[in-house]
């Protein structure tokens, strides 16, 4: 069977399976309530004349909105992707899939893309809601295209990064332990200010929340203060996040192939 057909079929099936999970929508409904509570005040602040000393351009406002919305959504995406491969094993679907034509490589890639894209749907809708509020407050329609591009530049690389780890690591780590470690990592590696006293990945190019990309491309302030602001810094963050995501998927594929050969 053509590999691309397999990829398309797996992607479609995984996408539908994930997007039809009530748990996904329920989790994001709660995130929306929390985000609206926390972000709305900051969106209203954008209109405040006292806020104008920061002189945010449209691009900076869009990037700031992307990061503000992104503090919570990756948690939901990571947790809801984490149980996909262990579930296949527990329901014995993996054994059935192994007996079917089609390559393991395309199955892994299809599962990754399908679950990631489906999980991004509620996250993106939440972002559009926040952007809509900001457009309404600022009366600037130019914010919409800027916000869409900022979502691709600032949010997606980090989402690809965490989705790859969340798909792969539960193969060797018990899912609840992975969930707990993921929460710890998210706070430590993204939200903890570098000057807090603990060494942290926060503020480095390996910050999937997108703050390094935001400061590199748009020069917006991040958690814990300013970092060097150069476009190369943002580019290196995108390359590092996407590169590691690809590497993790390759290792996952090799691990599953090794396990399949052992059976």
């Amino acid at each position: 069977m053509n590999s691309w057909k397999v990829l398309r079929g797996v992607l479609r099936y995984e996408f539908l399976m994930q997007i039809r999970r009530p748990a996904l929508w329920l989790a994001f409904l709660v995130f929306t309530l929390i985000d609206l509570r926390t972000v709305i005040g900051q969106v209203i602040e954008l209109r405040n004349p006292g806020f104008s000393h920061m002189q945010f351009s449209v691009w900076q406002t869009a990037a700031a909105l992307a990061i503000m919305t992104n503090w919570l959504a990756p948690l939901g995406i990571g947790i809801l992707i984490a149980d996909r491969l262990p579930r296949d094993r527990r329901t014995r679907a993996e054994e059935v899939l192994n007996s079917l034509p089609g390559t393991l490589k395309m199955r892994v890639l299809g599962k990754y893309l399908g679950t990631l894209l489906a999980s991004l749907v509620p996250s993106f809708l939440l972002y559009l809601l926040i952007v809509g509020l900001a457009v309404w407050q600022l009366g600037n329609l130019g914010l919409i295209p800027a916000a869409l591009l900022c979502y691709v530049l600032v949010v997606l690389p980090g989402m690809c990064f965490i989705a790859a780890f969340s798909l792969a690591l539960p193969i060797i780590i018990w899912v609840p332990l992975y969930q707990f470690l993921f929460f710890g990592y998210w706070f430590w590696g993204n939200l903890l200010a570098p000057g807090y006293g603990l060494p942290t990945l926060s503020g480095t190019i390996l910050t999937p929340i997108g703050s390094a990309i935001g400061v590199g491309f748009f020069g917006i302030p991040t958690f814990g203060g300013q970092e060097p602001s150069s476009t190369m810094y943002g580019v290196s963050s995108i390359v590092a996040l996407l590169g590691i995501a690809v590497l993790v998927l390759v290792v996952l594929y090799q691990f599953l192939r090794f396990e399949q050969a052992r059976q």
Binding site: A23, G76, V175, P176
Partner: protein, 239 residues
């Protein structure tokens, strides 16, 4: 519950349930030891206290949400004379007691090593009352989060969504701790005052209030566990 039955339940729970609290506490202590560049005794005491107040209860909450109410043979169990709620309660109690034992031993170790951070309200208390009251630091948070995890897993019938919501609630408390400190009506659900506001003059009240709200959640869970129809509900895409 017979000893054989208990042994069987423990085998069903599996090694990860035993190892998770140990890994959380020892892993965090190891992390602190490895990155101790610039870490003072004060920050060490604060961090280790936080591992008992925040990390261990969070881990126990996620484990309870995943384990306590899910059973692949639940249809079969519901046909037996023994009520399912007794099985679920046994699992819940085991996870709680095991995590509590780890927390108690760790707090005794912290006291011995003098990495001991006290809430201002009990600084001048004598021993053993100070040590015993300090145990409320982890006990109240843990009981609250495991009760919350139990209720979530019963209502949502999704391990992932329950785990996600417990984690998000805990991270919200970390991110917006000043709000939880300042708004009085949020005190009964403010889980981590020792880590963020050890000078709070409501520390003891907060710990007791948390135990009270946890008791309310446990009563709700007790009621839900008796609803066989609810236990048989299966959310699409979940296990």
């Amino acid at each position: 519950m017979s000893l054989d039955r208990l042994r069987y339940e423990l085998r069903l729970l599996g090694k990860p349930v035993f190892l998770t609290p140990l890994l959380v506490v020892s892993g965090f202590a190891l992390f602190m030891a490895l990155v101790n560049r610039g870490v003072t005794p004060y920050t060490m005491a604060r961090a280790l206290g936080a591992s008992l107040e925040m990390l261990l209860p969070m881990a126990a909450g996620v484990v309870v949400a995943t384990i306590a109410t899910h059973d692949r043979a639940i249809e079969l169990q519901l046909t037996m004379p023994r009520s399912y709620h007794r099985t679920a309660n046994a699992r819940f109690l085991f996870i709680l007691l095991w995590s509590a034992l780890i927390a108690l031993l760790t707090s005794a170790l912290l006291l011995t090593l003098n990495h001991w951070r006290l809430p201002t309200q009990i600084v001048h208390w004598g021993q053993p009352w100070q040590f015993l009251t300090w145990q409320l630091t982890w006990l109240s948070s843990m009981l609250w989060l495991v009760a919350f995890g139990l209720v979530l897993s019963l209502l949502l019938r999704s391990r992932s969504a329950s785990g996600a919501l417990i984690g998000v609630f805990a991270i919200m408390q970390v991110m917006f701790h000043s709000g939880f400190d300042e708004i009085v009506f949020l005190h009964p659900v403010y889980l981590f005052p020792l880590t963020f506001t050890p000078d709070a003059n409501y520390w003891l009240t907060n710990r007791v209030e948390l135990l009270g709200t946890a008791a309310v959640l446990l009563v709700l869970a007790w009621f839900l566990l008796r609803k066989s129809e609810l236990l048989l509900l299966h959310a699409p895409g979940e296990e």
